[in-house]
Amino acid sequence: MNELKIQLAWNRLLAIVEEQAQVLMRTAFSTVVREAGDLSAGVFNVSGDMLAQAVTGTPGHVNSMADSVAKFLRKFPLSTLMPGDVLLTNDPWDGTGHLNDFTVVTPVFRDSRCIALFAATSHVADVGGRGFGPDANDVFEEGLCIPMSYLFKAGVRNEVLLDILKANVRDPMVAEGDLYSLTACNDSGATALRDMLDDLKLHDLDALGAVILQRSRSAMLAKVAELQAGEYAYEMTIDGYDTPVVLSATVTVSAEGIGVDFTGTSPVSAKGINVPLPYTQAYASFGVRCLVGNDVPNNAGSLSVIHVTAPADCLVNARPPRAVSARHAIGQMLPDVVLGCLHRVLPQAVPAEGASCIWNPVFMSTLGAESDRLAHLPFVINPIFNGGTGARPQKDGLSTTAFPSGVRTTSCEVNEATSPLIFWRKEYTPDSGGAGALRGGLGQTIEISHRFGAPFIVSKMFDRIRYPARGRAGGADGRPGRVYVMQEGEPLRDLPGKGRDVIPQGARLILQTPGGGGVGDPLARDAEKVSADLEAGLVTERDDGDF
């Protein structure tokens, strides 16, 4: 292949997967996919190595899907696949970590030869069981599991599988729609790929794929070679489901690449915050990739430089049938742990710890008396709120910003139009960013009540309430999060960060998301920044005796 052809084909391949992701985002029914981009899409060679992946998407999906296609090919070898075949699974250990995520794999044929596979993953709103949340005791309680199977065989729909699926979920129409949307996005990728091969007069992706993988791997290795070889360990304690858990990692930098090992991490939990290894690998390698070679495209070549391991039956390598539904509550904390390790080798590049895990409460109506219908109109909303990110070595942290997740928040006005809740406050929490020469990002305070004074339910998966995001190099910790209830004539009542509570009649629920940690000595902070923070009211003098 000549150089120009390589350039054009690689460029085109990246555009194809980006378009594949756009089709998925446009056609998905689950709000979280459309609104928050909770998806991934990519193209693979016939050995199951990912050649290109859409940048659109959230890191938890992005990297766990990378390993999925090879697993499919072990069960359905290439020689058995036919045009019109479409494969499917939502197995947390073969896909992307919980039952809500469906991965669909489509082989692409040209001249009756399989030349590539497209894969896509998206979050389906409901898969039966207890529903999305951390409260299950094992994976069987969390809903329906479909092992790697045919969704279409030679173009014929697997009716039995679809019937079983539809009989086991709360919203069969939406679930079926999402599977079609996954199939459609792979089809659009396949069509675009065939066009590309025609245009560039290529027979297959073999030669191009080899170049992509080799160049990406070399570019990553070159980046790794710039780091001081050695072992770098870090440990972080977070709230866990009901008892604190320790996340412990050792990063090994060598000529072969970067190893991340989670030995020392707490054992599995009895509840649904356990993490299957592919999801651990996804977020751990994301942590590495944000700092090392972040401009190298994500593919099997660049990912092959990072090896993520964890002892069996620890929290981040849970085995079936452990409950894993809320695996994001732990998984989204892992980049902070990896960054902590890397801080020892890249002190000038690593941010302090941040709020990290999104705060995504589910608000629901309670069941009321028939006579009191107005106050008990049924509703469910699932807004997303973020805390502050850790201060960066050259910049303050970002206030109320999602990291590592890629989600967007939803509008309070829309939440109020689709539920009877009133969002009285959604504003920065002053003094919540960890002090430092560079300040951590601020968290926010959200104040909610029922418009008609009725009680309502909140289901919580919040962390960093007991254990805050820690500062670095003399920077202070971010302020921890808090959840409490305010009711006239009663003292404030704190609620735990996880599980379900009823907010009583007439009461207000207050959520305070955590702030990010600071970097460097607060007394060394630039005087102009100090006065700007005071003037803006982001910091109050009351809390800062030094000024």
């Binding site: 150089e3 120009l4 350039q7 054009l8 690689w10 460029n11 085109r12 555009a15 980006e18 378009e19 756009q22 089709v23 446009r26 056609t27 029914f29 709000t31 459309r34 609104e35 940048v55 890191p59 129409m173 729609g177 459609a184 160049r215 990406s216 990739r289 944000c290 972040n294 401009d295 495209p297 941010p351 709120f385 973020n386 050259q394 109320t400 910003t401 999602a402 990291f403 890629g406 989600v407 967007r408 928040t409 509008s411 309070c412 006005e413 829309v414 109020e416 139009a417 689709t418 009133i422 009285w424 406050r425 959604k426 504003e427 920065y428 926010q444 418009r451 003037e535 803006a536 009211g537």
Partner: protein, 692 residues
Amino acid sequence: MSIRLSVDIGGTFTDVVLSQLGHLTTTKVLTTHADPALGVMTGIGAVLERSAVSPSQIDLVLHGTTLATNALIERRGAPTALLTTAGHRDVIEMASENRFEQYDVNIDRPAPLVPRRWRVGVPERMTFDGQILVPLDQSVLTSALDKLLSEGVKAVAIGYFHSYANAEHEQQTAALIAQKYPQLSVSRSSMVCPEIREYERLSTTVANAYVKPLMSKYLSSLAEQLRSRGIKAQVLMMTSGGGLTTLAAAAEYPIRLVESGPAGGAALAADIARAAKLDQVLSFDMGGTTAKICLIDQGQPQHSRSFEVDRSYRFKKGSGLPVRIPVVEMVEIGAGGGSIVTVDPLQRIQVGPASAGSEPGPACYGRGGEAVTVTDADVVLGHLIPDGFAGGSIQLSAARAEVAMGSSVGQALGLDNQQAAYAAAQIVEENMASAARAHASEWGKALHERCLIAFGGAAPLHAVALASKLKINTVRVPPGAGVGSALGFLRAPIRFEVVRSRYMRLGGLQAAAVAAMFAEMRAEAAQVLMDAGVDVAAKSQVREQRQAYMRYAGQGYEIAVDLDALSTTDEAAFRGGFEVAYTKLYGRTIPDMDIEVLSWTLALTAPQLGQIESLATNDDDTDKHATGERELFDGQTWVKAQVMPRAQLVATEQYAGPMLVIEAQTTTVIPAGACLEIEQDGTLLITLGGRP
């Protein structure tokens, strides 16, 4: 009405076109940033003199300007305060709480236009259905305003929760300001952008408030200078929505003036499409920094209501300030003549979005620019002739282009200079093709049946190559491509769009309330059209479009549904309309799921009076170029190409590529296998050969 003047103020140049019975006189002068009206008057003076038209003969002035956009990008607007519902004063800074670039921990979110100390939470509260939960506290208001005034605030944005449903508190606040603080310039969210979603509504209102004093001052200064020059004609302003509006409406809603230049280009392409009866068109506008691509169906550019000003991070979605205004929907990517070409550590050629701009400019400008750009690639390939570039104002250096191409690209990849240049051109064309494919797919449209209409200084150089990548068969290059936006203003309709948010489930559709709301919206739009001189009662002149923004209950995004085609206004008709639109975009519907409406829009459109149909050639491009031959690199070898000045092309003749058509502002490349015909109005019509 026969003599019209069109003025487009851009970042570098101000273009002026005088249209007189279909005959065009054009000029380009430097934009005078300190007082832009000065440059405008210079340009007007020049065209008046050349055309021997007296100022009093001018019937209409059409104007578009990038001033509002620049003030936003450079943060040069008025000191602005925001009065908002207590508890929500950080809305415009918290934004969507997301990062627009996943792998970069050092991104910065755009700085809000109003600093936190000037964002005041006012005790008051509405619900989404317009009920008052907490009455407005006027005493807090006065003490806050006293303080803001003493700190030098000049403009105030008022944006309360759910004001689109009940504007009472915003009205009371505005009345209080008008009475006690008449020196403050006020923008109300219930007028600027009465739509649900507080971040987008407030962001739009604040941006409007921020540029309003500056734009009012400019517009009245311009009106004054036109008058003193003896031009008594009405002035209509070009908006981002692709239509013209009155000076009064423009001064009230200056945020609608952003992006008027590109909208003018789209208006030009749309008019060409209508005149040539082309159902499906792709307009392609490529300048120095960016390329813009727009889908035009049945002579109408794609419209939408969301736009981002100042995408400061590689033009990435989410890195700018969102504004909800009527816009011509287009995709813009960092690919222009000045886009810098580099080779990354993976040996991939990358083009843009960084641009060498006009200072220092591409390496071949010889003004100290070291970076190699798309323009340099065009020179190395032989497509750009160093003599006579930009009307002869810049002498290009082929040697500098060669050296820069070799050192930045060729050596890194082991390619000789012409191969490196060819690769760079291919990559930038591939980037534009990808953007076009993604845009078409996003809107559920196909590309290959379309005709590509190219304008802007760099577009005709790359148009045929882009068309070939998109399997498009015909390319049109209208005359005057260098002043495309100003030409577009002459062809744009007069248009005003009104929006309202009223949440409704189709299950509980209140048809009477909807009808009353539309009547109110129509009256508002009709007033603007009447002020612009349109006879609104003449039904044949005025086109009315009603749309509802609908979605399945619980989905994240609404889609626009045309209501005009519906025979009735009942639930079944609305559902039917939604399902047709949904299927077009997403290929299927969800039976039995409830549908909700969030917002409603109504637009009135009328053509300009005395609009010319012809694009007769302009008069100032007396080409110095001679006919001749030139070698072009086609990726394999050097081929001989015919060179023709555009002015010497003969309408009855057929020409075959390889060929270059040169004119003052651009060069059109016609490769081997393609052929060229000249339309009556001077448009170059290029047909690609050998394509299905």
